[in-house]
Amino acid sequence: MINPREIIETIHMIESENFDIRTITMGISLKDCADPDSKSARRKIYDKISFYAENLVKVGEDISIEYGIPIINKRISVTPISIIAESSDDEDYVAYAQTLDKAAHSLGVNFIGGFSALVQKGYTKGDIRLIASIPESLALTERVCASVNIATTKAGINMDAVEHMGRIIKETSQLTKDRDSIGCAKLVVFANAVEDNPFMAGAFHGLGEPECVINVGISGPGVIMAAIEKEKGADFDTLAETIKKTAFKITRLGQLVAVEASQRLNVPFGIVDLSLAPTPTIGDSVARILEEMGLESCGAPGTIAALALLNDAVKKGGIMASSHVGGLSGSFIPVSEDEGMMEAVKKGSLTIDKLEAMTCICSVGLDMIAIPGDTTAETISAIISDEAAIGVMNNKTTAVRIIPVCGKDVGETAEFGGLLGKAPIMPVSKFSSSEFIRRGGRIPAPINSLRN
């Protein structure tokens, strides 16, 4: 029989340390749904998603009961809609977003990602229409998530798109001002976006992906926290070893769930994403892990070194536990979704500049950060350009999910509810970047992109 101590350890992780599988995300290709008649395209999209994902929620719930492990989210990602909708003559793509929303509601999934466009080098007709449709789509739908990739290491940074996204974020904020500009919480601007990310709001089903696939995102900041709590005063070598061992254990369950879900749904298994994803629940925070290492408050000097150790050890522990690792696979630092981060912002130890520096060594970027509603579009664009530069130069994914909260200022809090949490409004630089952003054009791909 299995060692009783090990059985109890597993149960304890789930019961007391908030260990869960964060998401089972089904990626569905919509390549064959393009149609000159947009009504027909939307019907094909709805039917295809409904066909593949019909049992997604039920299978997730069954696995959760049988293994006794919570599976928090069941989600869907689809081919970037700009590519599918482009074949039709629709001037805007809001109706496509509504179709996705309707499918998500009828299937019982809480988010559907892929209202997306990839414009790192330039726009096609469909990309322009999709991006222009984002504000209204996010205001009129509940479960649709949008993302736009504006840069890659190979292509450089599309600064026209960067400028454009600043305005789109402002417009989205305005259209959802009655709900603390929540639309912006469902919109991610990426550099080096990945094709198999299971996490929202940035998930989409990439063009190199199969017809349908199951990707799984694990969680477990609480488990890592509990493990290092037992190592008070230990040196960093010991800390790294402890995190690696714990990450191995939690990733093994991610792999188990992924393979099981893939078999039951008769859909190939894609990847397990090793990201440590926090939630607003107490005891499920990445910031608190960094503090447990000896920092008075997240953001204090030493934060980046602590995060680097954590991020690296999680990957090293996780990589052997799964047959295919992918997605973002790095610690998340979303302010509104992490109780410790929120507290650190309120205390003044964590600033936007420090968060920016943290994004150099972990995924995924400036995430779920609320800023004053009167921040200009140009400043938002400039923030995006900085993040994109970090991603492009360092060959990694970075992103910006920033929320200019209409009518609110520093000292106030934006409330999004649920997993999206709440966020204290953070100050941004008062110095202008307008002329820089107005230049437009492209920042060329860096020399380190020439690998051949």
């Binding site: 029989m1 009783p4 090990e6 492990i69």
Partner: protein
């Protein structure tokens, strides 16, 4: 299919009898059983075989959970692969 039944809480008379009763009535065979004190809690662990079980997994889980509530204990049933996956390479 094999599963692990865990009973955690304060020791009292008749725990094994009452849990075994539910299992027997639903054709769940007990393969191994151990009990110990772990982290100051009475802990009973049973390895069971569900291949002849007459009810669904979720019904069994519900019955055990309800029994746990009446006894003031936590009773869970989980497929054994979860423990193997986490602790055995």
């Amino acid at each position: 299919m094999k599963a692990i039944v865990t009973v955690i809480g304060k020791d009292r008379i008749g725990i094994i009898a009452q849990v075994s009763d539910i299992l027997a009535k639903n054709m769940v065979n007990i393969l191994d059983i151990s009990q110990t004190i772990l982290q100051e809690n009475f802990t009973m662990i049973m390895l069971v075989d569900l291949s002849k079980m007459k009810i669904s997994f979720s019904e069994l889980s519900k019955k055990l959970d309800e029994k746990g509530k009446t006894l003031g204990l936590q009773i869970k049933v989980q497929r054994d692969e979860i423990f193997k996956a986490m602790h055995q390479v």
